[in-house]
Amino acid sequence: MAGQSRMLGWAKLVSLIVAMMLFIFPFLLLITNSFKANQAITSDPLGLPASFQWDNYVSAFDKMGYMSAFGNSLLITVAGVLLIALLAAMTAHYFVRHKSKLNQYLFFLMVAAMIIPFQAIMIPLVKIYGSLGMLDNKWSLIYMYIGFGSPLAVFIYHGFIKSIPLELEEAALMDGCGRVQTFFRIVLPVLLPTSVTITVLNVLWIWNDFLLPSLVLTSSEQRTLPLSTFYFYGTYTVDYGPLMAGLVLTLLPVLIVYLFAQKYIIQGVMQGSIK
C-alpha cells in the first residue's frame, strides 16, 4: 500500500518535470542557439554551441537600436503604470466615499467599457489622434494607456476600498488634513497590496504590448522593444544567429525582474483574479 502510493508520487513528479521541460525548453533552445553561427543553427538546432559567437549579440544590439528601444519601453511602462495606479486609486476612492447616483453611473460605465475590444476602437483612435497631430509621441501613448488601463484598476481598487474602515479617514479630516493630504497620507499607504497587484498586471500588459504602440509610434527612434524586435525580425529573417540573440536581448530584462520579483508577480496575478 505504502509502496504503491510512493510509486504514484514518483510518477506524478516525473510527469511534472516533463511538463516543466515543455514549458521552458523553447527558451533554453533560444539561448543555446543565440550563441551559434548561422550554419550550426540550421544544420543542428538541438546541438550545443561549439564556440560562443558573441558577434550575434553585438550585431543584434546595434541593428535593433536596443538602447533606444529599451529606454522607450522603460519610460512608457514606468510612467504608464505609476499614473494608472495613482489616478485610478484616487478615482476609486472618490467613487466609494461619495455615493451619489452620478458616481454610480460613472463607475458602471467604466466597468461596462471593459468589454469593448481594442479592435473596435483602434481605427477611430488613430483618426482622432492623427488629426490632432498627437501620434508618434510617447506621452500620447502613455495617455492612452491611462485611458485603457484605468477601468480595470478602478474596479479592483473599488472592491478593496469598500473594506477599509471609514474612521481612519474621518480622524485625519478632524485633525485638519485636507482631502488630498488625507488620501496621500492615510489611504494610499493602506492600498499598497492592491497597488502591487495593479502594477504587476499593468507591467505585464504595457511592457509586452504590440498593437497599440505599432499604431501610435511611427518613427524608428520612438519604437518600443516589441516593435523593434518585430522590425528587426522582418529584416533579418535569413540570419538566425543575430535573430536569436535579438530575441534573448528582448527577454533579458523580463527574466532578470522575474528572478527577483517572482513571488510578487504570481501573487499579483492571483489577487487580480479574485477581485
Binding site: L13, F23, P26, I115, V154, L173, R179, P226, L255, Y258
Partner: protein
C-alpha cells in the same frame, strides 16, 4: 458621510480625484468608440479630409465579405479549442502544484514563464521551433508528423497556433486556479475525508463545484484573449500560408490599414464587438447560475 461645504470646494475635490482618469477614459475609450460607430456609416479611405455618409453600405459589405466570415468561423473554432484545452491543462497543472510538495514554487514559476513575454516574441521563438527544430528532429528520428514545417501546411499551421496559445496561457490560468483551490475550505475537505470520501470523489463533489467562480474568470479571460488574438497570429504565421490562418482581429487590421477601407474595417470591428460581447455576457450569465456556497 464625507461631504464638504460649498459647491466650489466639492467640485474642486471631484475634479482632483476623478478628473484625470475620467478625461483619459472618455477621450481614449468612449469618444473613439462612439465616433467609430459613426465611421461605420462613411466611406473614409484613411487619407481624405472629408468622408461621405454611405448609409448601411458598409454593413452590407460585411455580410458580403466572405473572407471576413471565413476568418470569423476559423476564429470561433480556434477559440473553442483553445478555451477547452487551456483550461483543462491549467486546472491539471494547478491541481498538481497545490499538493504541498517541496519544489512546487519552482514548478509554478516555470509554468508561468511564457506569460512574461509578449506574443510577438513567443511567436518568433515558436516559428524557429516549427521551421527548424521540429523539422530537424522529425527527419533525424523519422517522424512523418514533423517531416515538413507545420507552418507551411494550412491545417497544421492552425494547430501550431493552438499549441502555442495553450502553452502561453495555461500558466496564467493555472495561477487563477491555484487561488481557487486554496480557497476551498480545509474543514469541508477534512470532514469529507473522515467520512471516507476518495480523492476522486472529493474532486467531483466538493472541489469542482466550489471552483466554479475560478472557472468563470478563466473561461472569460481565455475567451476574450482568443477572440482578440493578434500578436501571435502576426509573428507565428502572419496569417499564412495563403491567408489560411488569418484570424478575425488580423483581418480587421488588414481591411482597415492595408486595404485602406476604414469604413468597412470599422464595421467589421463593430460586428466583432457585438458578437464577442454577446458571447461573453451569455457565458458569465449562465455560469453564474452554477455557483454554489461552501
Amino acid at each position: 458621510m464625507l461631504t464638504e461645504k460649498g459647491l466650489w470646494t466639492r467640485l474642486r475635490t471631484r475634479l482632483i480625484f476623478t478628473g484625470p482618469t475620467l478625461l483619459a477614459f472618455a477621450t481614449v475609450m468612449i469618444i473613439p468608440f462612439l465616433y467609430g460607430i459613426y465611421l461605420t456609416f462613411t466611406d473614409w479611405d484613411g487619407i481624405a479630409v472629408t468622408q461621405n455618409l454611405v448609409g448601411w453600405d458598409n454593413y452590407i459589405g460585411v455580410f458580403k465579405d466572405t473572407v471576413f466570415w471565413k476568418s470569423f468561423g476559423m476564429t470561433l473554432e480556434y477559440v473553442f479549442i483553445t478555451v477547452v484545452l487551456t483550461n483543462a491543462v491549467a486546472f491539471l497543472l494547478a491541481y498538481a502544484v497545490t499538493r504541498g510538495m517541496k519544489a512546487q514554487g519552482w514548478f509554478r514559476a516555470g509554468f508561468f514563464l511564457p506569460n512574461l513575454v509578449g506574443g510577438i516574441v513567443l511567436g518568433f521563438i515558436w516559428q524557429f521551433i516549427f521551421n527548424q527544430v521540429l523539422v530537424f528532429a522529425g527527419q533525424k528520428m523519422n517522424l512523418p508528423l514533423f517531416g515538413a514545417s507545420w507552418l507551411a501546411d494550412p491545417d497544421k499551421a492552425f494547430w501550431a497556433l493552438v499549441v502555442v496559445t495553450v502553452w502561453q496561457y495555461a500558466g496564467y490560468m493555472m495561477v487563477i486556479y491555484i487561488a481557487g483551490l486554496m480557497n476551498v475550505p480545509k474543514d469541508v475537505m477534512e470532514a469529507a475525508s473522515i467520512d471516507g470520501a476518495s480523492n476522486r470523489r472529493m474532486l467531483a463533489r466538493i472541489v469542482l463545484p466550489l471552483m466554479v467562480p475560478s472557472f468563470i474568470v478563466c473561461i472569460f479571460l481565455s475567451l476574450q484573449r482568443g477572440f482578440m488574438v493578434y500578436d501571435l497570429n502576426v509573428s507565428l504565421t502572419s496569417g499564412g500560408p495563403f491567408k489560411s490562418t488569418e484570424m478575425v482581429s488580423m483581418h480587421v487590421y488588414e481591411q482597415a490599414f492595408l486595404a485602406r477601407d476604414y469604413g468597412l474595417g470599422q464595421a467589421e470591428a463593430f460586428v466583432l464587438f457585438i458578437l464577442v460581447a454577446t458571447i461573453t455576457l451569455l457565458q458569465v450569465y449562465f455560469s453564474k447560475k452554477l455557483e454554489v456556497e461552501a
